[in-house]
């Protein structure tokens, strides 16, 4: 019951948090920014609309948004948000989940290629390349967590017998992991300095350009998928950062979402004080966290006693 409630709450709050980023960025620019509920309005608007399909596209184009959104939702189903046991969990679920996420991306890329637009092909190539690089880090983290907990399941990572926590025995290594995961989060969610989610310049876009041809409910699904994904990553980070494991579920949940909000605020801050990197610098940036995680893993081997 708690699990389902936690899952539903996450879905409901996912559109709210990105508006926090917009607010922070607006504040840095001396503007008011859109209302916090902007994304709910956008959703209502998009779902009321119809979708326009180019005659050159096939069913693949229509599948992209659905698969993308569904796979992001799966992540939340399996993740112990705020330490509440997830709706589903089995041994080895992390592997399947990250590959499900890969599947979602695969369909987004296919949908982009299906339009035969030169822009979207270019964006698809960039997305495929950068996310492949980011995957190295993700699996580096999983290897490390396996060494720490002996399990390959989100539920066991955070609620098992030896939960991973910054206050635990391996807190120092976790700092490296947190930095790495933060960079992966920026990459996977197309944030500055890798991508610019607010630009209108198709030639510079990575993720946005792939969804240029989607409209109405399709676009809404894509947006929802992106928000769920961002919530998953910041939830993941928050679980690592949150030092308290309180007995009261409500207080714990409150604390967890406070940390999540804080992460969103830092994203907004990063986007306000840095420009995005040149495209040829991005791979170097994405590979940096892999080295951090690799180093953390070496530390757990206790080669030097």
């Amino acid at each position: 019951m708690e699990s389902i409630f936690s899952f539903c709450f996450a879905i409901l709050i996912a559109p709210l948090l990105p508006a926090v980023i917009q607010k922070v960025k607006a504040n840095f620019g001396g503007r008011q920014g859109p209302p916090l509920l902007i994304n709910y309005y956008t959703m209502a608007k998009l779902f009321k609309k119809g979708s326009v399909y180019s005659t050159s596209t096939t069913f693949v184009f229509r599948m992209g948004p659905v698969v993308g959104c569904a796979t992001s939702l799966m992540m939340l189903l399996f993740f112990p948000l705020a330490g509440v046991a997830p709706v589903f969990s089995f041994h080895g679920d992390v592997l399947i989940l990250f590959y499900l996420m890969g599947l979602g991306r695969f369909f987004t890329i296919l949908a982009a290629l299906d339009t035969a637009s030169p822009f979207e092909g270019m964006g698809a190539a960039r997305e495929a390349f950068f996310s492949t690089l980011a995957e190295a880090t993700i699996f580096g983290i999983l290897v490390l967590f396996y060494r720490l907990t002996g399990s390959l399941s989100f539920a066991e990572f955070f609620t098992g017998t030896q939960p991973i926590a910054i206050t635990g025995a391996h807190g120092a290594q976790l700092i490296l992991v947190i930095i790495a995961l933060y960079i992966v989060m920026l990459t996977e969610n197309s944030r500055v300095p890798i991508d610019d989610p607010t630009t209108h310049l198709e030639l510079t876009m990575i993720h946005e350009v792939m969804i240029l041809d989607h409209s109405g409910p399709d676009l809404a699904l894509i947006e929802l998928g992106a928000w769920f994904k961002l919530l998953f990553y910041s939830g993941f980070l928050a679980m690592l950062l949150d030092p308290f494991q309180l007995q009261n579920v409500w207080l714990n949940g409150l604390l967890f979402y406070a940390v999540v909000t804080f992460i969103y605020i830092t994203i907004g801050t990063v986007e306000s004080i840095t420009a995005r990197y040149k495209m040829n610098m991005v791979p170097k940036f994405i590979l940096t966290p892999f080295i951090l995680v690799f180093f953390a893993t070496i530390l757990t081997m206790e080669l030097i006693k």
Partner: protein, 501 residues
């Protein structure tokens, strides 16, 4: 160059005094001038009593003019000097005169010529071909083509960009414009005198004062009108305000293009403040209706002077702070540095003008070389960084904003007041020629008027700085990442309608 006539900016010249050379001599003279470091100011064809003629204005540190009878097809000058390449294409398009041996001979704006000759590009103008024109293509298995435009995201004007890429790397960019061709030159030859400034001001909406001033000076010169000192001050201030407002807007746009939001928001507001100053000065935020042949329509009184002074004192530190915010953040300069480089050598070959040229190390500033209005007595600007990349172009603009502010402040201290403007009947001198050059915010703006024996306009030629600089943008993309195109484009920020005319 010995056979070309040395003239002054805005000097009325009898057409009979312009050396009329045989084509071969004409060609050789122009090439010699170009080889000696000269650049083309105007090079166009016109029809006089049924005969096609060519006329060229060249600049070194002086201005030279020469003309000739145009053969239907002639040996291209571009084959020997790149400086003429756009001009020859334009001549072919407007008057059907073919430049043989031009390395890349294609239409400029896609319209039929006005002389009724056979089209030199073999185009069928009944067909609409947005994007479907012949273009340079690179072949190979890994080469792909990206076509952008003519309809763009955002609110920019139409233009077609064709990239030949290998992955993210751009081999070649070809730019095709002309979607906004309105026939400005023809229109200017046919409308009543009082409509002319209104058309001139709309040649390029962001260079209202620049084009308006060029036309006003040309007409004043042909009609023998005098402009009082006070009006000259107002005109100079107006031109400088236009420069500041545009540079500020572009610096903001440059920072948003690299996803650095805050300066864009600040500069967006500050640009509006400078536009408001233009309104105080001339009653319109974009400078419309201020400059007219014979003077200015608005008098700058002590009240306006004080308003301008106070506002400038308030804005200048703000501009300095926000520029500092842009240029002191490493992630931004990391993006600007070494992006979109045009070498000094190339810049000279294609004759870049304005800040784009100065960022490449070409010193030319029409305010210094051919001063009009008050510029003769004002200090010149100098630029610290001239590497030809986006960073240099941005820094040059920042320096120009500061320089222009100093110019305005010093002009506000002058005592002369403009006399009130009364429109009068204007009669242009017959059989005359004048070329006027001003440094608009984007670079050298030039208008050229030829009159017939009755004092009517025989040929009105307009040249916006974009006519030179679009080629510079194409060159800056060579070997550059395609994702840097928007940034390079913004660093040049060229005019589509100013080019299309």
């Amino acid at each position: 160059m010995d056979k070309l006539l040395h003239i002054q900016n805005n000097e009325k010249v009898n057409r009979a005094d312009i050396p009329h050379l045989p084509f071969d001599t004409f060609r050789q003279q122009l090439l010699a001038c170009a080889a000696a470091g000269g650049q083309v100011v105007q090079f166009f064809a016109y029809e006089d009593q049924g005969v096609s003629k060519l006329l060229a204005v060249m600049r070194t540190d002086k201005l030279y003019v020469g003309g000739c009878d145009a053969p239907d097809s002639f040996a291209s000058l571009t084959a020997e000097s790149e400086k003429f390449h756009m001009f020859e294409r334009e001549i072919g398009e407007q008057y059907g005169l073919k430049a043989e041996g031009h390395p890349w001979y294609k239409m400029v704006r896609y319209h039929a010529n006005c002389s009724g000759k056979k089209d030199v590009f073999d185009n069928d103008y009944n067909q609409d071909i947005p994007g479907n024109y012949p273009y340079f293509s690179v072949e190979g298995e890994t080469v792909h083509e990206v076509a952008v435009g003519p309809v763009h995201a955002g609110i920019i004007e139409p233009g077609h960009f064709r990239f030949q890429c290998c992955g993210e790397r751009v081999f070649h960019l070809e730019i095709q414009l002309g979607y906004q061709h309105r026939g400005v030159e023809k229109l200017l030859q046919s409308v009543p005198m009082k409509r002319m400034p209104i058309i001139a001001e709309t040649i390029a909406g962001d260079t209202t004062i620049g084009h308006g001033l060029c036309q006003a000076q040309a007409i004043e010169s042909l009609a023998g009108l005098q402009v009082d000192e006070g009006a000259k001050i107002v005109r100079t201030i107006a031109l400088e305000l236009e420069r500041i407002a545009n540079h500020i807007g572009d610096l903001g746009a440059l920072s948003i293009d690299v996803a650095f939001g805050p300066p864009a928001a600040y500069f967006g507001r500050i640009r509006g403040e400078y536009l408001n100053l233009s309104q105080i000065l001339g009653g319109n935020r974009f400078g419309r209706g201020l400059v007219r042949a014979g003077g200015v329509t608005h008098i700058m009184g002590d009240e306006q002077k004080q308003l301008l002074r106070d506002k400038l004192d308030e804005l200048t530190p703000e501009v300095e702070n926000v520029s500092e915010l842009i240029f002191s953040s490493p992630s931004v300069t990391g993006r600007f540095d070494n992006t979109g480089i045009v070498s000094k050598e190339n810049a000279e070959k294609i004759g870049l003008v304005g800040y784009a040229g100065r960022a490449c190390g070409l010193k030319y500033d029409a305010r210094v070389s051919f001063p009009t209005e008050c510029y003769g007595g004002l200090p010149a600007n100098s630029n610290n960084r001239t590497d030809g990349d986006v960073c240099s172009r941005a820094r040059v603009r920042r320096e120009e904003v500061m320089h222009s502010t100093r110019l305005i402040t010093s002009l506000l201290d002058r005592k002369e007041e403009a006399q009130s403007y009364t429109p009068q009947e204007i009669q242009l001198a017959s059989q005359s020629f004048v070329v006027s050059i001003n440094e608009g915010w984007r670079g050298e703006v030039s208008h050229c008027i030829l009159t017939d024996e009755k004092g009517g306009i025989l040929r009105y030629k307009v040249k916006d700085p974009s006519f030179h600089n679009w080629t510079g943008l194409a060159l800056s993309l060579r070997d550059e990442g395609i994702s840097d195109f928007p940034l390079c484009n913004k660093s040049f920020n060229l005019s589509y309608c100013g080019f299309d005319l």
